[in-house]
Amino acid sequence: MGEVLAVSASTTIERRAVRLTALLAAALGLAACGSQTGDDGGTLGGSLVQVARQAIGSAGGGGAGAPAEAPRSAEQMAATALQVNPGPLVLAGLESAGVTQVLALTGENGAMRTYMTPNMEGVILRRGLLIGTRGIGNDLSTAEIGTEGLIRSRSAGSGNRIMRIYGGDGRELPLPMTCTVATGAGQSFSFAGTAWNATQVAETCRIAGAEVQNSYLVTAGGEIPVSRQWAGPGLGYITLQTIRP
């Protein structure tokens, strides 16, 4: 982990990269070391570690039936899920609720994929980008991501994004944001038996004086195996890791 941090410290977007590294570290299961806290107060890595620790009870293993013994780390959860489910899987952590679960692919429409837990809480991803959530309670209806090209091509720049959430009044509430995309260092890592080469990409978005930040690890082909994405004011951040593409 120390080595990962050193790498990130050398980038030009130091602070973001440190965040992202913390995420990556946690996401990769290095969190198993347990004591790691992100340098910005556990917003990211720290909470994710916690998530990984606390979440075990709820880790069903998407559509796969929970094993008798609760897994103890993201890597273990992934390993269990890989055994019992032959299809594509993601590990998703909801930071605000302190819950991490394995979700299995239940639908594919073009590049858009719907993953669900056994109790039908779902996330909708387009090649790793969060498009929506369903069944969680403060769901994201849809996201129009004007920065998608920048993120996938690992290029710096700026663009707009509209997050549409389900408002309490029963309608779709658009949250228009202006975003800037910055890139960081490259990383090689493996998770759940898959090796990845990816580059850190950070997307900072502003709305009404508030700032949120999405962090991605993006491969040369534009895939996003690891990310931490903001799903709206009610849900907060969701961490996503590809278990099986």
Partner: protein
């Protein structure tokens, strides 16, 4: 269906995004809202008003008490800039006929403009106690400015009560009329308040108020001591508020209130499980038979598909009542029994159709059923469903069409095993009486058994029986017994029953008692038949709906009710007519009738103004034989909340009508799903009317056509369209 109409209705909510994320930054001309309530239950200082509004749609109920009296105020933010309030207050010693004056009053406040950057304050005008007997009657114009994040100043001019010039209380009047000739008359006095928000939830306020409570002081209360009032408001748990105040330093009071904001659901998107995603079709080469449509010739295809789809829809709380299936087009008729937004049911049905139907089926027709009536049909192209899944709801709205459902389409196959359908439920009930001058809180608790037997689509036998367990809502006779002075006064039940019909009529200025003896129907300790009816709904042509209901229609009347409604999908207008021949039921809740009969009838006009505002005008003959017009306005939120108000004026004079002069009231309906997050179509409703009088009364038939089909109409569907992909 012009898509502009669709889009106008559903495109985005009006909630400013900023409210969700950051403390509101006052933008130019935005509505100024506040949470600190004065002792009249409206935003303001202690007694004085401010220019603030409640957040849009909020319903607040507050109880305040001081030596000067008790006020229970229900306030509703009916539009972003209009606050309306109804108040029930008790003031000791003023009403010589009773120990206390019990008074209902109504307020209105209009924010003319909001606060702007720089020096411009928000400004509002208001009418306090503008209906009724006028004990709190006063008017004001007030400006409010946030000087800093925490410091707020209000200043205004008040008339009437707010100028310390009460307008007395005239026992001779029957109230209920606008006393407009008094408004903004009689000399104005200034008032002002400074409030300081110590924290986001704690507010201290000091005000100068010209009201010297002279009316209360005349009846023996202490004088306020000074014109300086102090108060503190503490908000907790989002919805609750406690405040303590002193009027002039001599008299102390406290208030408790709670506020519900329909726009702030605990679980805005609901907790229902994720829908099954769209399954796009495979390439034609991978399923040539499915794409060619030759499967349609196989007689086993439709039953298999229909069974599979009915099962899948059943898990979504949708009853697949029937289906028309051919090679290119499928119509499904669904009775949505789970989701408060019909659009959510339709969106889920469309996705299930992509999973169940062979690829050659390109046109999806989803017809909303209500009480066996096919209302309107949403027509979608399957390619659009595939292409637009999980995009902004407005896109699929623009690609959809809503049309009148054909009453009997060729090839309709009813799903087997649905009819006859028997349902029953046993549940507790709690009923609360209207506010009453003599006893403000009348309640009854017991059990209710409900059952319905649907013989075929639209033909339903249903009934309910109540058994009271406890309560203080006892049987009580109206004031119909002659008094020595020549008037009429209280009766025992036995005395009332002994009156001849002529005596009874004479005691009510010749107006038949059609509702004013409502409490005679209370207090039964044996089982009470609430209603028992046979309902027949039909749809003779594409835009015309009919209903015939016969039996024990409601607790007080039985008979026959017939109705027709014209509600085409491409209009916001609907027109209906109704005729009822009814007989008054006996007080005991059994099968017997009393000897009052009436024929009533109305022509009704319904209009959807958009954004959830609905209007209704009924003109016709009411139960007491009086002729007149009812006006009803309702605001429906997309999440199912409803706030409404109604008023009826008939050819009975104000004297014949009695206290209140004409019939009026407000209604509130709150969806259970809003509160608990779980999907259900149940709502909890309340109707705050005034005293039960006899003018302008209609038979309370359940299942009137407009409210029955409304969810399934184009307007109803578009209203909740934001949840199509939920």
């Amino acid at each position: 269906m012009p898509s502009s109409r669709a889009l106008r209705r559903l495109l985005a909510t009006t909630l400013p995004a900023a409210l969700l994320l950051a403390p509101a930054v006052p933008a130019p001309a935005q509505v100024m809202t506040g949470w600190g309530l004065n002792s009249y239950g409206l935003p303001g200082g202690v007694d004085t008003p401010s220019a603030e509004m409640l957040p849009d749609g909020t319903i607040s109920v507050g109880v305040s008490h001081s030596d000067y009296g008790r006020r229970i105020t229900g306030a509703a933010q009916v539009t972003p800039r209009i606050t309306a309030a109804l108040r029930y207050s008790k003031v000791d010693g003023i009403d010589t006929a009773r120990d206390q004056l019990s008074d209902r009053s109504a307020d209105l406040r209009l924010q003319l403009w909001g606060e702007a950057a720089g020096w411009r304050p928000a400004v509002a005008v208001g009418l306090q106690d503008f209906l009724g007997t006028g004990v709190y009657s006063g008017e004001y114009i007030v400006a409010t400015k946030n000087v800093t994040d925490r410091l707020q100043v209000s200043a205004g001019l008040g008339w009437g009560r707010l100028a310390g010039k009460h307008r007395g209380f005239n026992f001779g009047t029957i109230g209920g009329t606008l006393n407009a000739e008094d408004w903004f008359r009689g000399g104005a006095e200034p008032f002002g308040a400074i409030s300081w928000a110590a924290t986001d939830n704690l507010r201290l306020v000091a005000e100068y108020s010209a009201d010297d409570y002279s009316l209360e002081v005349e009846t023996g209360k202490d004088e306020p001591g000074s014109h300086l009032n102090l108060g503190v408001n503490w908000r907790f748990g989002e919805a609750y508020q406690l405040s303590a105040y002193t009027i002039g330093g001599e008299v102390f009071g406290a208030q408790f209130s709670f506020a519900l904001n329909p726009n702030k659901a605990p679980f805005p998107s609901g907790l229902e499980p994720a829908p099954a995603p769209v399954r796009p079709r495979v390439a034609p080469a991978a399923d040539p038979e499915g794409w060619s449509g030759t499967w349609a010739a196989d007689p086993t295809a439709q039953p298999a598909i229909q069974t599979a789809l009915a099962d899948a829809l059943g898990k979504e709380g949708q009853v697949l009542e029937g289906m028309v299936l051919d090679a290119n087009r499928a119509e499904v008729r669904i009775d949505n029994r789970r989701y408060i937004q019909q659009a959510e049911a339709i969106g889920r049905t469309a996705r299930l159709m992509t999973r169940a139907l062979p690829p050659s089926v390109e046109t999806f027709v989803i017809t909303s059923m209500r009480e066996g009536l096919p209302v309107h049909s949403v027509v979608l192209r399957r390619s659009d469903v595939e292409r637009l899944e999980n995009t902004e709801a407005g896109q699929i709205a623009a690609a959809a069409q809503i049309v009148d459902a054909a009453p009997r389409p060729a090839g309709l196959v009813a799903t087997p095993g649905i009819y006859p359908k028997f349902r029953w439920s046993l549940a507790p009930y709690f009923s609360l009486g209207n506010w009453d001058p003599d006893e403000s809180f009348r309640y009854e608790v017991g059990g209710r058994l409900q059952a319905s037997y649907e013989l075929s689509p639209g033909l339903v036998l249903s009934g309910s029986v109540r058994q009271r367990l406890t309560g203080n809502a006892d049987q009580k006779a109206p004031s119909a017994c002659p008094t020595p002075g020549g008037g009429f006064g209280g009766c025992t039940v036995a005395e009332y029953l002994a009156l001849t019909p002529e005596e009874n009529l004479a005691s009510n200025m010749g107006v038949p008692r059609v509702r004013s003896d409502g409490r005679m129907y209370s207090g039964n300790t044996s089982p009470v038949l609430q209603d028992l009816t046979l309902n027949w709904y039909a749809k003779p042509s594409a835009a015309i709906y009919t209903r015939v209901t016969a039996g024990y229609l409601e607790r007080m009347y039985g008979g026959v009710s017939a109705e027709v409604l014209w509600a085409p999908a491409d209009r916001s207008l609907a027109v209906g007519a109704e005729v009822n021949r009814v007989k008054k039921r006996d007080y005991d809740g059994g099968f017997d009738f009393l000897d009052y009969e009436a024929t009533t009838g109305h022509v009704s006009l319904y209009y959807d103004f958009g954004n959830g505002f609905l209007g209704q005008i009924d003109a016709g003959r009411y139960l007491a034989g009086d002729d007149g017009v009812s006006l009803r306005v309702k605001r429906q939120f997309a999440n199912g909340w409803e706030i409404g108000a109604y008023a009826t004026k008939t050819d009975l004079s104000a004297e014949e009508f009695g206290e209140g002069s004409f019939d009026k009231g407000i209604t509130i309906d709150i969806p259970v799903s809003w509160a608990i997050g779980q999907p259900t179509r149940q709502t909890v409703g309340a109707s705050l009317g005034q005293l039960a009088r006899d003018g302008g009364q209609r038979v309370r038939v359940s299942g009137r056509l407009y409210e029955t089909v409304r969810d399934g109409t184009a307007d109803g569907i578009y209203h909740g369209w934001g949840r199509f992909w939920r």
